[in-house]
Amino acid sequence: MNPIFAILAGVTVGAAVAAMALRNLVHSVLCLTVSLVGLALLYLRLGAEFAGFVQILVYVGAVAILIMFAVLLTRGGEAPPGRIANAPWSGLAVAAAVFAMIAWAIARSPALRGMAKDPAQPPLSVKAIGDKLTGDLVLPLQVVALLLTAALVGGVVIAMSEKETE
């Protein structure tokens, strides 16, 4: 295994564990951000520059900040006692079982064996992505645009003060 990959994967997974285990919500979200940046760097290592930078732009620049705002608005920023949350063992056991199953499937998969160890870097030009988005995928693109608009309006309506309706 490549040491750079090992470091990136370790940071990503470790930050994800911390995000789910820490009691303080803000720390949790900061760890989630680290994990998402680690994922973006993994995308870069896989050659998907565009996806990696979009990941940072959207997740770090928008989603993480959005979650922070929600944490502060729901007064989750006050640190509860203790550093690590106590979790019921049954949930952890179920999650571990899920992981074991997926890992088993990966290890046994015949499809993976046929794949090249490290194939040549495929060309990924933004122009190609743009052509694709405005060509084959123009309908999904429009649907996503509609979805985002609906989410925008929906988010505003839901989070708006209830006083006017009551």
């Binding site: 620049g61 993480a64 900040i65």
Partner: protein, 412 residues
């Protein structure tokens, strides 16, 4: 002249040639990092002095003019000030509030400075002189890295456990998120017309010639001009400069999100803010002001990096000038300006760029008025809307006999 133009590139190649071949990419990267770490903080140091001196002049004061070489009578017109300030901030006590979240409090300044350096590394400061050249995603990289600034602001504001810090951070994040939209949309216009996200290529494409002697900078087109103004305003807001310095409004919030920082960490915040300003100015230069291109063809003999840094200095001076002129906006005015004026204008600008592109074969006399008209009409309508919103204030004075003639336009 070509050798002077490429002198730094040649220097780097010459230095890298001393290293074994296997290490050459690493050595090249190191050299670029060293150059960026030396040049831009140097400009930052000078900017702090120049800003203080110019602001003083704008306010009819002489400004700092004493600190020179110590133990001598040489005063250097006050340009030793930055060394004194630097030494002071390095040797000051580092105070962390007792209730602060120590780890987050410690990390926040670095989260600001590291992306600032990264975003400076994609800016082409001369012909063949971009430290990192993402052929496909240069501009996207810049915006992605810039997103970390908001995170840093939040971390600093939240971890300090201070209401002023938190208020400043909240204002800062709201402002940066709001102004990122016009910023990205106005630079999208350039991407649309240049057909690439690579900053080096965008700069290169502006070296064409139009009207005989003028290089075809993007700012010399209707969409480029409008985009430049929108980008400039949004850049001002992104780098938290006055009139958009609400996050650190010293008259309301002490120092905003870095109220609780002192010593070296405060210096890092200061450095990060200025580096962010340089980076965004550099991108504005690259996108609209021809990058490292000369304005006129007969000035092409001046080295390209000199043009870039000359324009950068111009930007810095302009930002200082703005700071000396404009008062700070109110929060609601700030949001109104972003969402109700700049966002619609940048959308209109996208349409104009499309029209310009489609009308490429038309004569200039037809293409120009059409695009200007498409821009001017919404501009006029939107600013009319603003003027009705910001009614001129009437001030009431204690003396009844005196009429109240003093009115001030509250609008931006």
């Amino acid at each position: 002249m070509a050798s002077l133009d490429q002198i730094f590139v040649a220097l780097k190649d010459w230095l890298v040639a001393f290293v074994p071949v296997a290490l050459q990419p690493l050595a090249g990267a190191l050299l670029s990092i060293v150059a960026i770490m030396a040049v831009f903080p140097g400009i930052f140091a000078l900017t702090t002095v120049v800003e203080r001196k110019l602001l003083a002049r704008f306010q009819n004061r002489p400004g700092p003019n004493r600190v020179g070489i110590p133990l001598t009578k040489i005063r250097l017109a006050g340009f030793g000030q930055f060394a004194a300030d630097g030494i002071k901030s390095l040797t000051k006590e580092d105070i962390v509030p007792r209730n602060a979240d120590r780890i987050v409090h410690f990390v926040a300044p670095f989260v600001l400075v590291a992306p600032a350096f990264l975003s400076l590394s994609v800016v082409p400061v001369g012909r063949n002189m971009a430290a990192l050249d993402f052929r496909e995603t240069g501009l996207l990289f810049f915006f992605a890295v810039g997103a970390a600034t908001e995170l840093s602001v939040f971390m600093a504001g939240w971890s300090s456990r201070n209401k002023y810090s938190l208020l400043g951070a909240m204002r800062g994040i709201a402002q940066m998120l709001s102004y990122e939209l016009p910023l990205i949309l106005s630079s999208l216009v350039v991407v649309m017309m240049a057909g690439t996200l690579s900053l080096a290529t965008i700069a290169e494409r502006q070296s064409g010639v139009q009207w005989g002697v003028v290089h075809s900078w993007h700012v010399f087109t209707p969409w480029g001009f409008a985009g430049f103004l929108i980008f400039l305003t949004a850049a001002c807001a992104e780098s938290n400069r006055t009139p958009f310095d609400l996050p650190e409004a010293e008259s309301e919030l002490v120092a905003g999100y870095f109220t609780e920082y002192s010593g070296f960490k405060f210096a890092l915040f200061f450095l990060g803010e200025y580096l962010g300003m340089f980076a965004i100015s550099g991108v504005a230069i690259t996108l609209f002001l021809g990058g490292w291109n000369a304005p006129f063809t007969f000035l092409d003999w001046v080295p390209s990096w000199m043009w870039f840094f000359g324009k950068l200095v111009g930007f810095i001076l302009f930002f200082i000038w703005l700071r000396a002129t404009l008062p700070r906006l109110r929060v609601d005015q700030l949001m109104d300006l972003a969402w109700k004026f700049m966002l619609p204008m940048s959308l209109v600008n996208l349409v104009v760029a499309g029209v310009w592109h489609l009308a490429a074969s038309w004569p200039h006399l037809l293409r120009w008025p059409l695009c200007v008209a498409i821009l001017a009409l919404p501009y006029w309508l939107l600013s009319r809307g603003f003027q009705t919103r910001f009614k001129t204030r009437t001030y009431r004075f204690a003396e009844e006999s005196r009429p109240a003639p003093a009115t001030a336009a509250a609008g931006p």
